[in-house]
């Protein structure tokens, strides 16, 4: 992958150079709007913006990750679109996708940083062993993940944390978090951080966020977890096609009961849809074929912080995470002992009082008259 400077051509010019007709561009904009979860009425705005957009330089850093996020992106169900996006952005550094290796690869990163100082985007997948962790837990070219991250984001325009590991720490951070894994936003405090969570995130959401930045030249509106509201603004539950069953109180109670066959709500099978914010219910997976709940499996809540430590995947949302009936009994027994001891003491005291109780005499009563 040759090191490129951010080209001077706008996206519109670049697309027309590729021989794209105006109808084709209109279609591209319709698809883009859909991808950014924007209404079709936004298409003219998008067309105007895209026409004038300039392609940014992107540096993709992979840390403690499983490459699932990259797999997801490259299996984006709109390959034409993905090609376009990946062609119109300048992906200057990506472990998995770049052709360069060894020092040349690292050189490419440094060059892109130098050339696009203050303008390039950094995409991160995977969590990072924190500054206090053993730097050897995860390194690239002998440099700790932490150092690479901090060095790379220093002059970046913004950071996009892709996947739950980068966004929230994910699996590496799960209890007991042996590597002291941290999320990007734990470490990067002075740059805009956008989280595209999910394990993996929906590919269209990754490209959607990039397109948004590309189209409008700024970051999308974010929720409290720095996730783009366009995709993470509503919970799975609120957009779930099975929601009417929840509202009517119709639940599958096992994976092969009548309710499961009839496609009823999966709440009782552990669905975390009510507390999970993501766009699966509308964007779906695998070329829009289906998504977990449609295929009969409860939502795991993978786009939320600590989802690995949030209780069993097949325990309903309302079930507490650690408490057990045994623990309650133990506490109860302790209570009985404490209360019992207190009462025995009080009783002993009272017994002494009763033993020394002075009977009321007529003389005492007469005194009162």
């Amino acid at each position: 992958m040759p090191v490129r400077k951010t080209p001077d051509k706008t996206l519109g010019e670049s697309l027309r150079d590729h021989g794209l007709s105006r109808r084709g561009f209109l279609k591209f904009c319709a698809a883009t709007a859909s991808m950014m979860a924007l209404p079709p009425s936004m298409v003219p705005v998008i067309a105007a913006a895209l026409d004038a957009a300039r392609r940014p330089s992107v540096i993709w850093l992979s840390f403690q990750e499983c490459t699932g996020c990259t797999e997801s992106l490259t299996r984006s169900h709109a390959p034409t679109l993905e090609d376009l996006i990946l062609n119109i952005i300048s992906l200057d550094y990506h472990h998995t996708l770049q052709a360069a290796a060894g020092e040349a690869a690292e050189e490419a990163r440094l060059q892109a940083m130098e050339d696009n100082k203050g303008e390039y985007l950094v995409i991160v997948d995977g969590s990072i062993p924190g500054p206090d962790s053993n730097p050897g837990f995860s390194t690239v070219a002998g440099q700790s993940n932490y150092d690479i991250l901090m060095e790379t984001v220093e002059h970046a325009a913004a950071v996009i944390a892709v996947g739950t590991c980068a966004a929230f720490g994910g699996l590496p951070q799960a209890n007991p978090n042996p590597t002291g894994a941290r999320s990007v936003m734990d470490l990067v405090k002075d740059k805009p951080v956008i989280n595209v969570s999910g394990c993996p995130p929906i590919p269209m959401v990754i490209t959607g966020v990039l397109t948004h930045y590309l189209t409008f030249g700024r970051l999308p509106e974010l929720d409290a977890y720095h996730r783009p509201l366009a995709f993470f603004g509503q919970s799975i539950h609120d957009r779930c096609y099975r929601r009417p069953f929840y509202d009517r109180g119709l639940f599958a109670e096992s994976f092969d009961d009548e309710g499961a066959k009839l496609g009823w709500c999966l709440y009782r099978l552990g669905c975390k849809g009510p507390s999970t914010y993501n766009a699966c219910a509308t964007m779906k997976w695998n070329d829009g074929t289906s998504w977990p709940i449609e295929s009969g499996h409860p939502c795991l809540g993978c786009s939320e912080p600590s989802f690995w430590d949030a209780g069993g995947f097949y325990e309903p949302l309302s079930v507490p995470i650690t408490a057990t009936s045994g623990a309650i009994l133990a506490a109860g027994a302790l209570g009985a002992v404490v209360g019992g001891a207190a009462t025995v003491l009080a009783k002993k005291e009272t017994k002494t009082i009763v033993a020394h109780r002075q009977p009321v005499t007529v003389e005492e009563l007469e005194d009162k008259l």
Partner: protein, 146 residues
Amino acid sequence: MEQLSVTLGSKAPCAGKPQDHGHTLPILHEIRHALERLIATGEETRIDLNAMPFGPGDLDRLRAWLGTGEVQASVSAMGLTLIQETAIPGVWLVDYQNADSQRLTLHIEIAPVPEILRPQPQDLAEAIATLDARMDEGQSNPPRPS
């Protein structure tokens, strides 16, 4: 138009008939309002069906409600775009596909003619120049298709 029968749902054989999740009715109402606007003010509306929380069978159900009209068309630009008029005049299904015939997005368009069928204004502005250029180029014979 065989490609349009593609559904959003799984095509895997299923034990029972897919349940009605009640998602089609609100869209039909939305279409109705859009038609009112179209007739009254000429305002066109596009509805992105990709943004709908459809369950299995919901899209087929919506298509059954809308029926099939007389006009079918296709646009060949960056892959095919297939256009099908529904049984309701002014209500169109527009299926945007990529070069691999995978759907990019599916719109319902409430308009006299879907926008993608109309020549784009900038293209129209260049129409005479384009014609002149072709006449110049071909002299007496039409130019070979590019």
